[in-house]
C-alpha cells in the first residue's frame, strides 16, 4: 500500500470514480452529425433533433438540423404538451400522422398551424435506468411516417442515448478539480490534527487516527470538522 497515491494514478482513478467520460463539446459535435444523418435516412424529413429532459419535463440541451425543429420543440415545452413530452413520459415512440387532425395535444396542434410541418415521430432516448430525452423527426408531408419508420428511429435512438447518457456538463472538469482540491484540503487538516495528537499523547499514527474517528462518530460529525475543531482548540491553548 503506497503512503500517498501517485498524482497521475490519482487523477485517473478519480476520473473513473466520478464517471467522467465525455464533455458536452465532444458530444455536441457527435450529436449534430447524428441529427443530420437521421434527417437524411428518414424519408421525407425536413428536420431532425434530440432533446434532453430533466425530471419535471424541463428541456436542457438539444441538437437539431433545422430551425423548424427548434420551433416545433419550443412550442411543446412552452405549452407543456406534445408528442416528444408524451414519448418521454411513457418511454415509447409516438407518431403524429397529421398535425392538422391531431386531437391528443390540442394546444400544440393548433399552435403548429403556422409551421410547415404535418407529420412527426418521436422516440425516447433510453438508458438502462431511465428515459433521458427524445429523438424526433418532422415532415412536411402528412402520413410520412409508418410503423417501419418508428422501428428505424428507435434503432437510431439507441446509440444517441448511450452518448447522451454518459454526457457530463461543460463545467464538469472544473467542478471535478474543485472537489479534488476540497478533498486535499480536508485530508491536510485531518493529517495535521493527527500529527498534533501523536505529539500530544505520544501515540502512533494509527492510534491517533482511531481517536479522531471515535470522536467524530461520537459527535456524529464529519472527520474534517472534528479535526478542524481540535486544531482550533489547539491554537487557542497556545500561550
Amino acid at each position: 500500500m503506497a503512503q500517498v497515491p501517485l498524482a497521475d494514478e490519482l487523477s485517473a482513478v478519480f476520473t473513473r470514480a466520478a464517471g467522467l467520460l465525455l464533455t458536452e463539446d465532444i458530444a455536441g459535435d457527435a450529436l449534430s452529425r447524428l441529427a443530420e444523418a437521421v434527417r437524411e435516412v428518414m424519408p421525407d424529413t425536413v428536420g431532425a433533433g434530440m432533446s434532453l429532459f430533466e425530471a419535471g419535463g424541463r428541456t436542457t440541451s438539444t441538437a437539431s438540423t433545422r430551425r423548424v425543429v427548434q420551433e416545433a420543440d419550443r412550442l411543446q415545452y412552452d405549452l407543456g404538451e406534445g408528442p416528444c413530452l408524451t414519448a418521454w413520459a411513457q418511454g415509447s415512440p409516438v407518431r403524429v400522422d397529421d398535425v392538422r387532425r391531431e386531437t391528443r395535444w390540442p394546444l400544440w396542434a393548433t399552435a403548429m398551424g403556422g409551421l410547415p410541418v404535418r407529420a412527426c415521430l418521436s422516440a425516447p432516448l433510453l438508458t438502462p435506468d431511465r428515459v433521458i430525452g427524445t429523438m424526433k423527426v418532422y415532415s412536411s408531408k402528412p402520413s410520412a411516417y409508418t410503423a417501419d419508420s418508428e422501428q428505424l428511429l428507435v434503432r437510431l435512438a439507441a446509440p444517441a442515448a448511450v452518448i447522451l447518457g454518459n454526457l457530463q456538463p461543460r463545467d464538469a472538469a472544473a467542478r471535478l478539480s474543485e472537489e479534488f482540491r476540497d478533498a486535499l484540503r480536508r485530508r491536510d487538516v485531518i493529517n495535521t490534527a493527527k500529527g498534533m495528537l501523536m505529539a500530544d499523547l505520544g501515540v502512533g499514527s494509527e492510534e491517533a487516527m482511531i481517536i479522531l474517528i471515535v470522536a467524530a462518530d461520537g459527535a456524529r460529525k464529519p472527520l474534517h470538522t472534528v479535526a478542524a475543531e481540535f486544531l482550533g482548540e489547539h491554537v487557542d491553548d497556545a500561550p
Partner: protein, 104 residues
C-alpha cells in the same frame, strides 16, 4: 494475511450499508481519501470484495466515510396532509393536469 472474523464482519456490514444507501465504491473511496485514507481505490474495492485485508484504522476510515455519506443523504419524502394540499391548490390552480375528482 488471513482475514480475521472481526474484519470479515466489518467488511460485510460496510458493504450492506453501501448497498442500502446506494453508495458506489468510487464515492466511498473519494470520501475516504479526503479523510486521510491511504489505500487506493482498487485496494478499497478489493477490501469490499473480501480479497484484501486492511489495518483497523483504514477499515474504520472506510466505515466513517460511509457513515458521513449516509448522514448527508436527503431524508425520504414525507406524505402530505389534505388541509395543506387544499390551501396550496386554492392559491395556484394548475392548468395542464387532468382535473381532480370533486372532493366534497
Amino acid at each position: 494475511m488471513p482475514i480475521e472474523p472481526r474484519e470479515d464482519e466489518q467488511r460485510t456490514r460496510a458493504g450492506t450499508a453501501c448497498r442500502r444507501a446506494g453508495l458506489t465504491c468510487g464515492q466511498v473511496w473519494f470520501r475516504y481519501f479526503g479523510n486521510g485514507g491511504k489505500a487506493g481505490s482498487f485496494e478499497v474495492d478489493a477490501y469490499f470484495n473480501g480479497s484484501l485485508s486492511l489495518p483497523p484504522a483504514e477499515r474504520d476510515l472506510i466505515a466513517h466515510a460511509i457513515n458521513e455519506l449516509i448522514d448527508e443523504l436527503p431524508p425520504l419524502p414525507r406524505a402530505p396532509y389534505s388541509q395543506r394540499l387544499q390551501d396550496r391548490r386554492a392559491r395556484q390552480p394548475r392548468v395542464t393536469d387532468t382535473p381532480d375528482p370533486p372532493t366534497d
